[in-house]
């Protein structure tokens, strides 16, 4: 029996219990009707969610857009390096065994992206402006958090992109296996809109808060992400390399303010953990 079938049975059982309670017009000892109703709601939500395989299929369609817009940077050493650093950080998340893949896109833009199921991208323009592995870990941690919390799917289901992506997502999930050809172009369009409009702003702040913790869990100085945000703030909103990032994220100053409110004191004790600047520069520069 698949997890989906088990959930279906649970939903049916819970519905029956609720129906029994309602018909009998009195409280059944041992059954809290409200709780049973909540269970039904949760189960129904879960059934409408893509499972992990579908999540990855959707994520792969969207990741293919990004590498279609900008190919992988022809620097195999740097590509392998972001994969070990990224996987190491992801191991400290709640989804350590996703098939995580990381890539550096050959673009001068300063940006980073994630798609469902564990595809994570940073641009060359962002990586070369970093100073250390702790900074890279913080940025990857932010993107890993988007995947762990399924922010992209949430945006399509109920958030800013529900009008564009909600229907196609429901269709894809309904098919149970693979993305059928007739839905592919709709799914690709929804993904493009997502990259151009960005996620819900609260989810960006949440990814920042989680990113610094993931870096600390992985043994790095958690102040790497704020250091990158300072670099971005210093480049300025008028910088053409930053146009899309500024359109799709809260302003870096606001993100720094929000991090300042939560990082000290809880994360201060980890600020003496390594930044690993030397290995970072060596691995990216190919020496």
């Amino acid at each position: 029996m698949t997890p989906r079938q088990i959930l279906g049975l649970m939903a049916a059982a819970a519905l029956a219990a609720v129906a029994a309670g309602a018909n009998a017009q009195f409280r059944i000892p041992g059954i809290d009707v409200n709780r049973a109703l909540d269970t039904v709601k949760n189960v129904v939500t879960v059934v409408n969610e893509p499972d992990e395989k579908q999540e990855r299929e959707i994520g792969a369609e969207w990741a293919a857009i990004l590498v279609g817009a900008a190919p992988l940077w022809a620097n195999p050493g740097a590509q392998r390096y972001v994969n070990v650093v990224g996987r190491w950080v992801a191991l400290h998340s709640e989804r350590p065994d996703l098939d995580w893949q990381f890539g550096i896109l050959d673009s001068d833009n300063v940006n980073a992206f994630a798609t469902p199921g564990g595809y994570i991208f940073v641009t060359k323009g962002l990586v070369v402006r970093m100073r250390s592995e702790a900074e890279l870990a913080g940025v990857l941690g932010h993107e890993i958090a988007h995947v762990v919390r399924k922010h992209h799917l949430k945006a399509m289901q109920t958030g800013a992109l529900a009008n564009i992506g909600g229907n196609v997502l429901t269709e894809v999930v309904g098919r149970r296996s693979g993305v059928p050809a007739e839905l592919r172009s709709q799914l690709v369009n929804a993904g493009k809109q997502m990259f151009m409009r960005g996620l819900d702003k609260d989810d960006e702040y949440e990814a920042d808060r989680m990113g610094v913790v993931l870096a600390a869990r992985a043994g790095y100085d958690p102040y790497g992400l704020p250091a990158v945000l300072q670099t971005i703030a210093a480049m300025g909103a008028q910088s053409s390399e930053l146009a899309l990032l500024f359109e799709t994220h809260p302003p870096p100053g606001a993100r720094l303010d929000a991090l300042e409110r939560v990082m000290s004191p809880p994360l201060d004790r980890y600020a003496t953990q390594p930044q690993v600047a030397e290995r970072f520069v060596r691995s990216i520069s190919g020496q």
């Binding site: 369609e61 990741a63 990004l66 590498v67 279609g68 817009a69 900008a70 992988l72 195999p76 994969n83 070990v84 190491w88 191991l91 400290h92 709640e94 350590p96 890539g103 001068d108 833009n109 940006n111 641009t123 060359k124 070369v128 402006r129 970093m130 919390r149 399924k150 493009k192 151009m196 609260d202 702040y205 949440e206 808060r209 989680m210 913790v213 600390a216 869990r217 043994g219 102040y223 300072q230 670099t231 703030a233 210093a234 910088s239 390399e241 146009a243 899309l244 100053g253 720094l256 939560v262 990082m263 000290s264 980890y270 003496t272 953990q273 970072f280 520069v281 520069s285 190919g286 020496q287």
Partner: protein, 185 residues
Amino acid sequence: MRLAAAVAVLALAALPAAAQEFGFMVRQTEVKAEPFADAAAAGTLPERAKVQIVKRQGAWMQVKGDGAAGWVRMLAVRTESGSAGGAGSSGLASIFSFGRGGSSGTAVATGVRGLDKEQIRNATPNPNELARMKGYAASRADAERFGASAPRLASQRVDYVASASAPAAGGGGAGGGQASPLGGN
């Protein structure tokens, strides 16, 4: 890649001393003699005071300002537009300089390549390039070996932090706020 690596070595050797970085204080801040909360005071910098950034160390920045020099919390500083913050101080940006010319040093008059709104709108998905990316993937074992190699990265149990207005991430859904030294099994 050999050539690129050789060029990178040359470029690193030719790097100028780290460019100066400047910033300003976001609020009135007590300057510390050392990078610790309980270190001795070494003066005060007012809100908006301009500072030169000397060094970064975790949560702290060593700064020189008008009338006070020492350590302040890095998040009390905003780096200035146009300062070296934009170029980064690792020197990598000047090795892989772009727009103004590649590592060959010849000027190439290109705009920003790759991931503008228009370029995403017009992108054709490239599943072959995505398949190539899988070739660089690291397994759990690869990552664990990496963490254990020098410089060793010590896994920590750390809870997610709550925002002032929102509960800590991971209260439900896919997350789970449990702080695990190495997640999963």
